[in-house]
């Protein structure tokens, strides 16, 4: 039997903390992204844009267009959060292609943390838009009877977002492992190609869902006075 996908390899102990493999991979991905962004920023130029800058601007424009059409609002205030989510999840999903590295999104804790970050963003923008009392009251719209339903919906959102990402990425890892064990070298390559596609689509879906939830909290205009 293969290893349980719910337990992670413990790499080292730092006092009371146990550092597992997904934590190290997550920090590695974050370090790579920050260093890449800093390098790109140091090369930005208005006069003579290089190839990398042109590519980055193309990607930024794509993200902004996508956000504008999904959120029906100016993407500027949401861009840092949404774009970071997308880039991080995409990089994390694709980091499984490096031999010996397991994608950190194949750990339920990472996905739960991401979903909780989205939940916090929804709360934050909702409170900023409606005020604390107004936002809390929006859970009891149109009548008090739907309050438990809305509360359950807010919780199941977190669960479904995290389990969706976790299940898709983890199943890719498990399938690759099982096929590798059954058939050996080079046979898992088509499955890894499928994993590439899944990683891209799941990063996109997670981001789109985050956009939809945040936009719904931030721009709900049906505010009875």
């Amino acid at each position: 039997m293969t290893n349980s996908p719910f337990k992670h390899e413990v790499l080292l102990h730092l006092g009371p903390l146990t550092i597992t493999a997904p934590v190290v991979t997550t920090w590695g991905v974050m370090l790579a992204l920050v260093l890449g962004a800093a390098w790109l920023r140091s090369r930005l130029s208005v006069r003579t844009p290089g190839r990398v800058q042109a590519l980055a601007e193309l990607a930024l424009d794509l993200v902004q267009t996508e956000m504008r059409s999904t959120m029906n609002a100016d993407p500027a205030p949401f861009l840092p959060m949404i774009a970071t989510l997308f880039v991080f999840i995409l990089t994390a999903n694709l980091s499984g292609l490096i031999p010996g590295v397991e994608p950190p999104t194949a750990a339920l804790e990472t996905d739960l943390a991401l979903a909780l970050a989205v939940f916090a963003a929804v709360l934050g923008w909702g409170i900023r838009r409606h005020g604390l009392w107004g936002y809390l009251r929006s859970y009891a719209q149109p009548s008090l009877l739907v309050l438990p339903l809305n509360l359950i919906e807010a919780l199941t959102r977190i669960v479904s977002m995290s389990v969706r990402l976790f299940g898709n990425i983890m199943s890719g890892v498990v399938i690759s492992t099982v096929v590798l064990g059954l058939a050996g070298l080079l046979v898992p390559v088509p499955f890894m190609a499928l994993e590439l596609l899944t990683g891209l689509i799941q990063a996109y879906i997670f981001t789109v869902l985050a956009m939809v939830f945040i936009a719904a909290a931030a721009s709900e205009s049906s505010e009875p006075e």
């Binding site: 479904s160 389990v163 879906i205």
Partner: protein, 83 residues
């Protein structure tokens, strides 16, 4: 010897979960792909929008199967009754 029965039932239930959990999404994905093919045949110029929406929709549908897979894995690896 009680654990023995729990293990047995868990494995059978995990297999059942995955098999039944695959039926619904399979039917749904078949329907959505055929609808997308219809739309593509009618409006080939809208191919990019249709295929993008199709991929997102397929991933959403597939999620239900993934939920079943996660439940099955929970039964196999993190069974709360096998402690």
């Amino acid at each position: 010897m009680d654990n023995h029965w729990i293990e047995l039932v868990s494995i059978v239930c995990a297999a059942l979960t995955v098999s039944f959990g695959a039926i619904g999404p399979a039917l749904a994905e078949g329907r959505s792909v055929s609808a997308a093919m219809d739309a593509l045949a009618r409006q080939p110029e809208a191919a990019s929008t249709i295929s993008r929406t199709l991929f997102v929709g397929l991933a959403m549908i597939e999620t239900t199967a993934i939920y079943c897979l996660v439940i099955a894995l929970l039964l196999l690896f993190a069974n709360p009754f096998l402690r």
